[in-house]
């Protein structure tokens, strides 16, 4: 019933859009009707262009995310577990964190030229901070009573870290990874508009050059669907890993 109602809302929105276009209020060059966008999307798909673009984009997200999260996770664990390391690094983290990854674009091009390297740099930067901040917060918020209980049962630093602090921080770490991959996906689109000539971001910018508004919209829809798919997969993984967690909504 719920699903039916929300589907009805989507269908109504599409119908309104279609009607506005059909009644001739807007030029199809500015806003093509959804039926035309769907047609274009199908064409984009069957020619193999969309799959190629999607793969290029996903590869970039994957590489950038692995680099960014791969650096942020150990640093976050270290900073979370050791107060001295936290005090040492926290000021510089706080200084760099508010700079949006997009602001690094000029520097990225200056350093890495065009092509994949600046894109990887920007995407990993986008994933880095959410993962770092959540990992630090996760480790630091593990209830002291678990640490006491573990020490009382004979656990010393290694066991304490891997069997208490790390799993205790896991819900927060996974939330950070989920946000991180979301940001990486935003950044990849921007990076593709600027530094490379493949991928979904590049394709919609290219379509603008030719005034193909239907293709722009088809590309945007694809970006949305892939973004949703990534987030759904992450949510599934979280749910699987956090079976023990209380009050877990799969949202």
């Amino acid at each position: 019933m719920k699903a039916l109602r929300s589907t009805a809302v989507i269908a109504a929105a599409l119908l309104c859009w279609e009607a506005v276009c059909r009644l001739g209020h807007v030029s199809p060059a500015i806003l093509p009707p959804p039926s035309q966008v769907a047609g274009k999307w199908w064409e984009y798909l069957v020619t193999g262009e969309l799959p190629r673009d999607a793969v290029a984009t996903l590869l970039r997200v994957g590489v950038g995310f692995v680099i960014g999260a791969g650096l942020a996770l150990p640093l976050g664990l270290w900073m979370g577990a050791r107060d001295r390391i936290y005090e040492l690094f926290n000021p510089i983290v706080q200084l760099l964190r508010p700079i949006p990854p997009i602001a690094y674009i000029p520097l990225a091009i200056l350093w890495f030229g065009l092509g994949n390297p600046p894109a990887f740099f920007l995407i990993s930067l986008g994933a880095f901070f959410p993962v770092l901040m959540n990992t630090i917060a996760g480790v630091r918020s593990v209830d002291a009573i678990y640490v006491r209980a573990a020490q009382n049962l004979g656990a010393r630093s290694g066991t304490l870290f891997w069997r208490v602090l790390f799993p205790g921080a896991m819900p927060s770490i996974l939330a950070g990874l989920r946000v991180g991959i979301g940001v990486a996906f935003i950044v990849v689109i921007v990076a593709e508009m600027i530094a490379v000539n493949s991928g979904l971001g590049y394709r919609i910018l290219e379509a603008r050059e030719y005034f193909w508004s239907d293709k722009i919209l088809a590309g945007m829809v694809s970006i949305g669907v892939i973004g949703l798919a990534i987030d759904t997969v992450m949510a599934r993984i979280n749910g699987r890993l956090l079976r023990w967690h209380r009050g877990l909504g799969n949202a």
């Binding site: 009573i145 678990y146 006491r148 020490q151 049962l153 004979g154 896991m170």
Partner: protein, 254 residues
């Protein structure tokens, strides 16, 4: 003279200007069941944490089995009021945790045997969130028993349970204690609970926490609250505790 398991000598604890504990002297013999009783704020949990080795007293010393307490040790196993079960581990993993640290190859089998003993058979693969309060506290108890600790430290372990569950947990604990003869230091604010369980009840004063009086409970076991002897002991201890409670309330008003 029976051998002392625990010696507390002139122990004081300050947090800034607050004196939480002041010159506590107490000796507990091996196999003895002692309750620390007092209103909240009397420092009984503070004292227990110091015995566990989580904190160091600011003056005096604590000796367990003749050795000075400097850090937490499995020989002084702690049962927390909040259970403190690791929520990310299954019940079995929780119970086997201490054994695995020791490198015990039979950790799993021993954990399962303890789960059976504490009426938790079939719950080994569950996570703590799926268990009731009473079951969680039995898991916490099993986790400590797994290590054959000669001393159990219990911080209001049944405080969060409903009355009926608490009663059956008390019986369970007495059965285990009768069988294994550990030394038990049990913190509670329940007068009846202390009289049901303890050989001696240490009544503590409110801030600074000191020993007000040590009452030996001479009632035979199993104890029955319905006897006049029990009632007499209950009245006597209630009198002592209420004096401290009144001081506590006066303190809060000012």
């Amino acid at each position: 003279m029976p051998e002392p398991a625990l010696q507390i000598r002139g122990v004081g604890m300050r947090f800034g200007s607050i004196v939480a504990l002041d010159r506590i002297d107490l000796a507990v013999t091996k196999g003895e069941f002692v309750c620390l009783l007092g209103p909240s704020g009397c420092g009984k949990s503070t004292l227990l944490n110091a015995i566990a080795g989580f904190t160091q007293p600011t003056s005096g010393e604590i000796l367990a089995f003749g050795k000075r307490v400097l850090e937490p040790q499995p020989e002084r196993a702690m049962v927390f009021q909040e259970y403190a079960l690791f929520p990310w581990m299954t019940v079995r993993e929780n119970v086997a945790f201490g054994l695995r640290i020791r490198g015990d190859r039979e950790a799993r089998a021993k954990a399962d045997a303890l789960l059976d003993k504490l009426a938790l058979r079939g719950f080994g693969d569950r996570f703590p969130k799926d268990l009731s309060g009473g079951m969680r506290q039995r898991v916490a108890l099993a986790r400590c028993l797994a290590l054959d600790a000669p001393m159990l430290l219990m911080d209001e372990p049944f405080g969060a349970l409903d009355a009926l569950t608490r009663r059956s947990m008390q019986d369970e604990l007495l059965r285990i204690w009768t069988e294994l003869q550990q030394t038990i230091v049990f913190v509670t604010h329940g007068i009846e609970e202390s009289l049901l369980l303890a050989d001696r009840v240490v009544v503590m004063t409110y801030r600074p926490g000191t020993v007000k009086k040590i009452v030996t409970v001479a009632l035979p076991r199993p104890r029955d609250e319905a006897t006049p002897e029990f009632s007499a002991a209950f009245r006597a201890i209630t009198q002592l505790v209420r004096e401290e409670q009144r001081r506590h309330e006066r303190d809060e008003q000012t």
